[in-house]
């Protein structure tokens, strides 16, 4: 048993639903108790879909358990086929149905339904949502796709986009256009928008573009083996990655590596003097492995940030993310416990978080700005406007998205200069965020005489004695604007600990400042 307050991923059958809902002409019969239909609202409310997910739930209740849940499953399966007439059915069990061991897959196969029936084995007590999506799509491909003659014109499949995906809708548009500019056609995009009939045509493409390894890698590996289709390894998020991706595609398709950078603004925006204030901004990155890896590269190489920590919640990506962390000289955090993430963030005191909706809330609590780079998704992650993450427009979008939560250049200086101002002060936040101005609370005339114990999390273990902030130094520290205060505190404590100092006074604070100046 493990206590969980918030989860980054849903159960695996929700991953299967993401595949089914992304596709057309496919129906999912899910052996599940009453209540599991809550998952419908993820699609109808968060993603604002205008149709119900193509899922029939058997909805068994306690009284059915004593009778015949298997019969109930067969009845639901038959009625779902009769009503929806899908081109193919996927069948499986949710966590509770897994326990009663009715074998929905086996039952459905014996029913003689006039369409392909694809059984799913998704171990609910071991795996999670991304696995569920990846495995479901793999099973569909394995059942329906066959080797066939290649298209006359060079073409590829776009693999991995699902319902409820983080910006999948717009990434598909962006990458389709980018490939089109190179003279490469899209044969099938799947699961998003594909029918089971389309899946049977996957083999006609010359290669696969793996857009989202989390949800499409197993299928790509199978197609590489069985259909002789190589797949791309680079995920085109960021300027550098997009350019690399174009070269990779050019190699696979044997076409020139053409990329029209006319509408790319990110590099100039990053070089322009207004962006000087990004320099060495300390960022912490957390999300799914793919988006974290992409964000780390953008943060360091394309924004000039300093990556002070990174990690992912999907264990399937633990190995590449650990390797990546090593390259960035930081320790990877692989966890799906958001309390661990919160602890790491407060320990590192970054100036900005690039994370998920969970980290956005952690940031709110800790007073650290956060930009969202990855699922789990929120209704805000489905904007009405075109807003891809991939390709050149994706790079532009990411620049804007990351800059938005920050206090901008000159404003940052003004806050430094006039930090005692009663309305234009730290706690008021960035002026472009449009909340009501908060007046600075009146400080007590006399500071508490008690010195403050430092949190010595930053100190090396062998010198881990308590370090005391003298009240003058503490007061001085408070004059430093909020977005650098955490860093100043941490640096000063590390500085003091390294020198074996027990107390921090104003001189220690400024000695440390000079020491860390760059």
């Amino acid at each position: 048993m493990k206590l969980s307050v918030w989860t980054y991923e849903g159960p695996p059958h929700v991953g299967a639903m993401r595949v089914a809902t992304g596709m057309k002409g496919l129906h999912y019969v899910l052996h599940a108790p009453q209540g599991d239909t809550y998952a419908d609202l993820l699609f109808t409310m968060i993603e604002r879909r205008n149709h119900r997910p193509p899922v029939t739930y058997t909805t068994f209740q306690a009284r059915d358990l004593g009778e015949d849940t298997a019969k109930l499953f067969k009845k639901s399966c038959q009625e779902a086929y009769d009503r929806f007439k899908p081109e193919a059915l996927i069948v499986g069990a949710s966590c509770t149905a897994e326990l009663i061991q009715d074998d929905p897959g086996g039952m459905a196969e014996t029913m003689g339904l006039p369409c392909p029936v694809i059984p799913l084995e998704l171990p609910s007590y071991q795996r999670k949502e991304n696995f569920g999506a990846d495995e479901t799509f793999f099973q569909i491909v394995r059942t329906l796709a066959r080797p066939m003659e290649r298209t006359a014109h060079i073409s590829c499949n776009l693999i991995g986009a699902t319902g409820l995906g983080f910006r999948h809708r717009d990434d598909i548009t962006e990458i389709t256009a980018l490939l089109d500019e190179m003279g490469v056609r899209v044969n099938v995009c799947a699961p998003y928008g594909a029918t089971p009939e389309d899946i049977t045509r996957l083999g006609a493409a010359h290669f696969n573009v793996l857009m989202y390894p989390e949800t499409g890698e197993s299928a790509c590996r199978w197609m590489e083996r069985e259909l002789d289709q190589p797949f791309t390894k680079i995920v085109p998020i960021g300027v550098g990655a997009t350019r690399d991706f174009v070269r990779e595609v050019a190699g696979l398709a044997d076409v020139p590596a053409t990329l029209d950078e006319n509408r790319l603004r990110q590099p100039w925006y990053a070089r322009s003097v207004d962006s000087t204030y990004f320099t060495d901004k300390r960022v912490f990155i957390f999300g799914d492995g793919t988006h974290v890896a992409a964000a780390a590269r953008i943060a360091r190489d394309e924004m000039g940030f300093e990556v002070v920590g990174l990690g992912c919640y999907n264990r399937e990506m633990a190995r590449p993310i650990r390797a990546l962390a090593k390259e960035y000289g930081v320790e990877a955090l692989i966890t799906d416990d958001y309390l661990d993430v919160e602890a790491r963030i407060s320990e590192l005191a970054p100036e900005m978080i690039l994370g998920t909706q969970m980290e956005r809330h952690i940031g709110k609590r800790l007073g650290i700005p956060c930009a969202v780079i990855s699922a789990p998704v929120h209704v805000q992650d489905f904007p009405a406007r075109y807003s891809p993450q991939m390709g050149l427009e994706g790079a532009n979008v990411i620049f804007d998205t990351w800059v938005h939560p920050l206090v901008m250049g000159l404003e940052e200086h003004l806050l430094h200069m006039f930090r005692e101002d009663f309305e234009f002060h730290d706690d008021a936040g960035a002026s472009h965020h449009g909340h009501a101005a908060k007046a600075r609370p009146v400080e007590p005339a006399e500071e508490p005489a008690e010195p403050v114990m430092a949190e010595v999390t930053a100190a090396p273990a062998d010198q881990g004695a308590e370090i005391i902030w003298l009240s003058d130094a503490e007061k001085e520290l408070r004059k430093i604007p909020f977005f650098v205060r955490g860093k100043a505190r941490r640096n000063t404590e590390t500085f003091a600990a390294e020198r074996g100092l027990r107390e921090i006074d104003i001189d220690t604070l400024y000695d440390a400042k000079a020491h860390y100046a760059r």
């Binding site: 048993m1 206590l3 969980s4 108790p33 419908d40 968060i46 909805t59 007590y125």
Partner: protein
């Protein structure tokens, strides 16, 4: 000024044959009640013993993630727990110890059973007993099931309150127990009305804090503020308390009838009753008038959701001039909603349970002006051109008693007003 309510209809819906269908239920399970119960009881923690699905449900149930410091969590069963390799009681005790060490403000801990814990027959009742002994007196540990195989949506609150009843101290005093979780502001309004009527000893279940001293006994009479409390009703009767049947306090008519039932029980005279209620009654009628203009003559269709459907249909038909074409409820406890059924004029289909695809067929066939349904159905029906009201908002919004009558009517009129406001398909 005294208003007199319209007379009851010649034939109500109490004896209307109930349409019962069995199929896919598009409803939440009882765990969802935790979303409001954990805010209502400020020193309680709800620990679901379940699967990742349960945890995912709790954070998704309101349509968006709720990130207020949560007083609920899920202990997720893992492979070792299912295989019997780990001693579930020990594992649970360890997680509870850790939780209580971190949250010293917790006075009541509810172990909440889920579908998986019920199917593998984890004895959470025994676990609660043992843990209660271990953490007494600072924390009381109780158990109820919010599993989907046993409970539908609001039945989770019913199961929770029913679990609290046997724990309440015994009393002989003559008192009124007001039962059902209400928003604090509404609860305060109700208590103030009861006080003005001269009903002195009033307690509320659930209380905001564990040490509120709520007790029960043979001289207790109780009035329900929510129609889904069938189990709690039975548990209170087992403790010797007596139910005051009444329509539920929605709108002017419902609130007046509810208060009248209590007033009769406590011998409040008519003059005093009129003096206390006249002003808020007039106010509530005035507050509803705008929405009533929008709603009057329109057809409403209820999908089953919270068991509030019958009282709300009574409200919409009798007080807002709507026509109910189908009133679906997950369960119909006639002992509780009988008085509302009496007031609801014959005509609508009364349905219990659900086969969602068949019900959608009926809904499309009658093309109601307003469809009250869950979040999974609302946008798809809107896309088909039907106006909808999310049923869950009726559970999350203050809607009871006089001062909320206008807001309640407004919840139903807003989708219709919005439809007439938006000019999205107009030609350039």
């Amino acid at each position: 000024m005294t208003h007199h309510s319209a007379p009851p209809p010649a034939i109500g819906c109490r004896n209307t044959p109930i349409l019962k269908q069995r199929g896919q239920h598009e409803v939440f399970c009882g765990l969802t009640g935790i979303i409001w119960l954990h805010r209502k009881m400020q020193d309680a923690f709800f620990l679901v013993v379940g699967s990742r699905t349960c945890a995912h449900l709790l954070q998704s149930a309101a349509g968006v993630m709720i990130f207020a410091e949560p007083r609920f969590g899920t202990v997720i069963l893992e492979e070792t727990d299912l295989a019997g390799l780990a001693d579930a009681q020990e594992e649970l005790a360890r997680e509870v110890d850790r939780l209580l060490a971190r949250r010293t403000d917790i006075r009541q801990l509810f172990l909440v059973g889920s579908c998986p814990s019920e199917v593998i027959k984890l004895d959470l009742a025994r676990a609660a007993e043992k843990l209660s002994a271990r953490h007494a007196p600072s924390v009381r540990v109780m158990y109820y099931s919010g599993s989907g195989i046993e409970t539908t949506f609001t039945e989770g609150e019913d199961a929770c309150l029913a679990a609290m009843v046997p724990e309440l101290p015994e009393t002989d005093k003559r008192q009124l127990l007001m039962v059902g979780a209400l928003p604090d502001v509404v609860e305060d309004q109700a208590l103030s009305l009861l006080e003005k009527l001269g009903v002195e000893d009033v307690a509320v279940l659930p209380a905001r804090y564990a040490d509120s001293g709520v007790s029960v006994g043979p001289n207790t009479v109780f009035a329900l503020t929510q129609p889904f409390l069938g189990g709690t009703h039975a548990a209170l009767e087992r403790r010797g308390a007596r139910h005051i049947p009444a329509p539920f306090p929605f709108g002017e008519e419902g609130t007046t009838a509810w208060l009248q039932a209590v007033a009769r029980e406590f011998g409040v005279d008519t003059a005093r009753f009129d003096a206390v209620t006249a002003a808020p009654r007039a106010r509530s009628i005035q507050a509803m008038s705008k929405a009533k203009q929008v709603l009057s003559g329109k057809k409403v269709f209820f999908f089953p959701d919270s068991q509030l459907e019958i009282p709300l249909a009574r409200f919409l038909v009798r007080e807002c001039g709507m026509e109910a074409v189908e009133v679906g409820a997950p369960f119909i406890h006639k002992a509780l909603v009988g008085p509302d059924l009496d007031l609801l004029p014959e005509g609508p289909v009364i349905a219990e349970g659900q086969d969602v695809d068949k019900q959608l067929d009926r809904c499309r066939a009658v093309q109601p002006d307003l469809t009250v349904c869950g979040l999974g159905l609302a946008n798809p029906l809107e896309a088909e051109g039907l106006s909808t009201k999310w049923a869950i908002e009726l559970v999350f919004t203050p809607v009871h008693f006089y001062e909320q009558a206008g807001d309640l009517a407004g919840l139903f009129s807003r989708p219709l007003r919005r439809k007439s406001l938006l000019q999205l398909d107009a030609a350039e």
